[in-house]
């Protein structure tokens, strides 16, 4: 039972880390390597709003999501627009943004484990004989809600449908009047905002530290590579495979192999199906 419960919570936490990255990449083809840095920055902004400015938690969280979302939006217009289509340049540029954010935060002293976000609900509950902290339950709730909201958003709203149109066939989408730059900017803004949502759900489980900026990116990439970088259902599948593998390895082998599982999964999937399990990015080349 413990394996099932903690397998689910671990998987949802990985899904939350990856979902924003997948959304942006799936729609605009933009690999946002600053995803982990946005996760971190969102957490620190919330901490500042909460502890330095005395803003209520929920308002602070909302402000951080909006601030980082806006940052992602302007990052597209200010920098990424000029690099569209140059995949390596996009990676280098977003990675540079990530390094600047993380290192500036480090320089400002945001390391040392003093920066902790409080859980939404303290305490723990017993589920079938297994004690689980309330924050993990909240995290699973946020993850599930996010999946439903994203599903409805991409199928029931005009903007969501335009996202899917661009993702499916950019040229046809342009032909019917969808602005690809506006859509890409919105997707980067949403992806960045989702990175903050992930941070707000996961960070209360531990502490905020600048090193996490790089770790989160690694997890988001691992989940994406397993499930398919541009596929949201793929991200979900990837996180469940990885989440349960980590728990099973730690339970039946040794905990020290937990991170090895992540890297091994990347290597295996890249060797067998480079597009990921549900990815279609290079599906044709793979078949050939």
């Amino acid at each position: 039972m413990e394996i099932i419960i903690y397998g689910i919570t671990n998987s949802i936490s990985l899904a939350l880390m990856a979902i924003g990255f997948s959304l942006t990449f799936g729609i605009s083809g933009l690999p946002n390597f600053a995803h982990g840095a946005f996760y971190l920055l969102g957490g620190i902004l919330t901490w500042i709003f909460l502890n330095q400015l005395g803003i209520p938690y929920l308002v602070a969280a909302l402000l951080s999501i909006l601030a980082i979302g806006a940052f992602g939006f302007f990052l597209y217009w200010g920098l990424m627009l000029r690099l569209r289509g140059l995949a390596i340049n996009e990676v280098i540029a977003t990675l540079a943004v990530a390094i600047v954010i993380i290192e500036v935060l480090r320089w400002m002293g945001f390391s040392g484990f003093s920066y902790v976000l409080p859980p939404f609900i303290r305490g723990s509950v017993n589920i079938g004989g297994v004690w689980v902290d309330n924050q993990r339950i909240v995290m699973v709730g946020i993850g599930a809600a996010l999946i439903v909201v994203l599903y409805l958003f991409t199928r029931r709203t005009k903007t969501g449908l335009s996202f899917r149109a661009i993702a499916q066939n950019e040229r046809t989408a342009i032909a019917v009047g969808i602005d690809p730059d506006w859509t890409a900017a919105l997707s980067l803004a949403m992806g960045s905002g989702l990175a903050v949502v992930a941070g707000l759900a996961i960070l209360p489980l531990g502490a905020i530290d600048t090193e996490m900026g790089y770790d989160i990116l690694l997890y988001a990439l691992a989940v994406g590579i397993i499930g398919g970088l541009e596929s949201l259902p793929g991200a979900l599948l990837g996180s469940f495979i990885l989440g349960f593998s980590q728990i099973l390895v730690a339970t039946f082998l040794r905990a020290q192999w937990q991170t090895v599982v992540t890297l091994a999964a990347i290597v295996i999937i890249l060797a067998i199906k480079p597009s990921g399990l549900l990815g279609k990015y290079k599906e044709l080349e793979e078949r050939v």
Binding site: E2, I3, Y6, T9, N10, S13, S111, G112, F113, S114, Y115, V116, P118, R122, G123, S124, V130, W131, V132, D133, R136, I202, L205, G206, A207, D209, E211, M212, D215, Q246, I247, A250, T251, R254, A255, Q256, W257, Q258, T259, V260
Partner: protein, 426 residues
């Protein structure tokens, strides 16, 4: 006309005359060098502790140097070795120390580099420049080995703080209290999978087995692990009664939070610097309740009633409005190091740089009361001696977090409360 100009200029002349008189009148300061890595919170706080000691001494006119017949003030010069920052090579730290010694010509060094590797390499610089060094951070026993390899060459080095053997022993004795009080004897170890943490875990394992404990599990966890449920479940199913967790990775707080939320029926000894600060409660709150911690040496994190100097130290720290320590380990040693030097200079009658070989003898004969108890050095190791009686030696105190307070629980002669089991363990 000329007279008018003279009278107008008179105050200016007078001002400069006074300034020159003061400059000639002021005694030449005794220069203390402090090369360390200011990125690390414990080094930042350590410097504040040194500043505090220097201000106190200078407020009394400085240190009386008998041979010169004057009181000389202390002056601090610093260099950032950056050895506590990720990726900084040892060579850079060495260059920073070398530059400080060559350019600032300090009479002695206090605190010294943060990382053990950098400190090991600094030993040769200390020997080369024959500069008296009261080192207060690096804990590796390797420094004693180096000293004992050629005591004549390395005699200028003194470790005025704990070392990892003393700390490991104190940690093991703290955990062993559970055997004495509750007849517990099953230990589970979770160690971050890095060399230093594995070494600490191995040392704790050996010590605990020596006390009659059975090690029912030993799990190294990879850096970056963000879910400890599986390993904690193993601890539960192994029947462990004591959990020893050692590491410094950013995700380690997840571990003790899960220990509590999963109600793992063990005591928890956390070898994790962050939770040794009284400040930690503000960040982690009740998740820390009943956790055992060991900020070394005694009195550095919080005052211990039986150690009056520790009470005084924390009172002064508050009065100075210094920020609360993020990592209090060895901060009190930095403060004591300045007083050890003062005491030795007053006994010797000369400053360390005048005759370092002779000065070593005065440091070896140190016997004064410090924050952690009686300060004495072992002549055969140049290591500050630690024991359990503050009247005989310096001490290390372990604490248990209880409702926001760090309560001393070991050694029993200094304990302010008895070891308690967490409610879900009882």
């Amino acid at each position: 006309m000329k007279n008018k100009i003279f009278w107008k200029m008179a105050p200016v002349f007078l001002f400069f005359a006074l300034l020159m008189a003061q400059a000639y009148g002021a005694e030449k300061p005794i220069v203390l060098g402090l090369p360390t890595s200011f990125f690390q919170p414990l080094c930042k706080s350590g410097k504040l502790a040194v500043d505090m000691a220097i201000e106190e001494i200078n407020a009394q006119g400085g240190i009386f140097v008998k041979e010169e017949g004057v009181k000389r003030p202390l002056k601090l010069v610093t260099a950032d070795t950056r050895c506590g920052e990720p990726g900084t090579p040892v060579q850079s730290a060495l260059m920073a120390v070398d530059k400080l010694i060559a350019e600032e010509k300090p009479d002695a060094i206090v605190v010294a580099p943060f990382r053990s590797e950098a400190m090991v390499a600094t030993m040769d610089l200390i020997a080369k420049y024959k500069i008296i060094t009261l080192q207060t951070i690096a804990q590796t026993p390797k420094l004693i080995e180096i000293f004992q390899g050629d005591p004549q060459k390395y005699k200028y080095w003194f470790r005025a703080t704990t070392n990892s053997v003393y700390v490991g022993t104190a940690a093991a004795k703290t955990m062993d209290m559970a055997r004495v009080h509750f007849k517990h004897d099953k230990l589970f170890i979770i160690a971050q999978d890095t060399l230093w943490a594995r070494a600490a875990a191995d040392a704790a394992k050996a010590k605990m087995e020596g006390f009659g404990w059975k090690v029912v599990g030993y799990e190294p966890v990879a850096v970056g692990t963000n879910d400890f449920s599986a390993v904690l479940s193993k601890a539960r199913s192994s029947g462990a009664q004591m959990l020893y967790v050692v590491g410094d990775m950013p995700t380690l707080p997840v571990c003790f939070k899960q220990w509590k939320s999963m109600k793992i029926p063990t005591m928890l000894f956390l070898d994790f610097a962050v939770v040794t600060s009284p400040k930690a409660w503000a960040s982690y709150g009740e998740d820390l309740d009943y956790v055992l911690v060991l900020p070394f040496p005694a009195g550095t994190a919080t005052p211990v009633k039986a150690l009056p100097k520790s009470v005084e130290f924390h009172k002064k720290w508050k009065e100075k409005k210094y920020p609360e320590m993020d990592d209090p380990r060895v901060v009190s040693s930095a403060y004591d190091a300045v007083y050890i030097l003062k005491d030795a200079i007053e006994r010797a009658g000369f400053v360390p740089s005048k005759d370092p070989d002779k000065f070593v003898e005065f440091l070896e004969a140190t016997d004064l009361e410090g924050i952690s108890g009686r300060i004495k050095f072992d002549k055969s190791t140049h290591q500050q001696i630690f024991g359990e009686d503050p009247k005989e030696a310096s001490v290390i105190v372990s604490y248990q977090w209880r409702a926001g307070k760090m309560v001393p629980i070991y050694p029993e002669n200094l304990a302010e409360a008895k070891l308690e089991l967490a409610p879900w363990v009882k």
